[in-house]
Symmetry: C2
DNA sequence: CGGTATCCGGCCTGATACTG
DNA sequence: CAGTATCAGGCCGGATACCG
């Protein structure tokens, strides 16, 4: 696919990544391996169970993560990155680096603003 | 900034890029240089004037694009990528490539599904 | 423990009309 | 030509309660 605007496929990637909690969920699974539902919940203190489940389901539907259910009482469900999901890592890395620099830049700008005021 | 989930800065980058028309606007400006408001509108047939203006303003606020107004009748406004905006190009490229592959993968899967049905 | 169901407020986006 | 104003609908995400 040529890299012309008319052939834009950026949105295809964004659809997968966008979601209030998806990036951080992916980082957890990428960097810490398989996780149970409850472990993720513990690491993401502000997320509701409903949202956690929803975001995980959406990622699962796209083969980005795998969901493994153990039929036992109490239930146990494990989530892990698929090989395909791992292919997102370069993009997430690039955004993390850019985003880090961006927040730095922003705070520097604000500092200048404050100087002008005072 | 370490690349731990707790330090996640991916969202900082996503905030800038996300918006129904931002990626394609950026691609146009990146690959075709300075454009007038009307030219962008012509290349994005489905966007409304209101949305085009809004997305451009948001990108301008983050220093991703520059807005140059010519005080004349009729008005003329030109938009172009800033150097800072150009730093997003690797991310957009990565997403474009991933997205291209993703849509390919998807259509292959659907083809398999159709075989099963018929 | 992990997951559903329901309700609800806010934001994003679109349609349309108007302005300098 | 480029932009603003207003109204309205739809989806996202949060709070809460309940289920196997």
């Amino acid at each position: 696919m040529e890299k012309k605007p008319e052939n834009c496929r950026v949105d295809n990637a964004l659809e997968i990544i966008v979601g209030k909690w998806k990036p951080i969920i992916l980082l957890h699974l990428l960097q810490e391996g398989t996780k149970r539902h409850g472990e993720l919940k513990k690491n993401l203190p502000d997320i509701t169970q409903k949202m956690l489940t929803k975001q995980l389901r959406e990622l699962e539907k796209e083969d980005i993560i795998e969901r493994k259910v153990y039929s036992q009482i109490p239930p146990k469900v494990e989530y892990s990155i698929t090989d395909y999901g791992r292919s997102l890592e370069p993009i997430l890395d690039a955004m993390h680096h850019w985003g880090t620099n961006h927040s730095l830049r922003k705070s520097q700008k604000e500092a200048i603003q404050n100087d002008k005021i005072s």
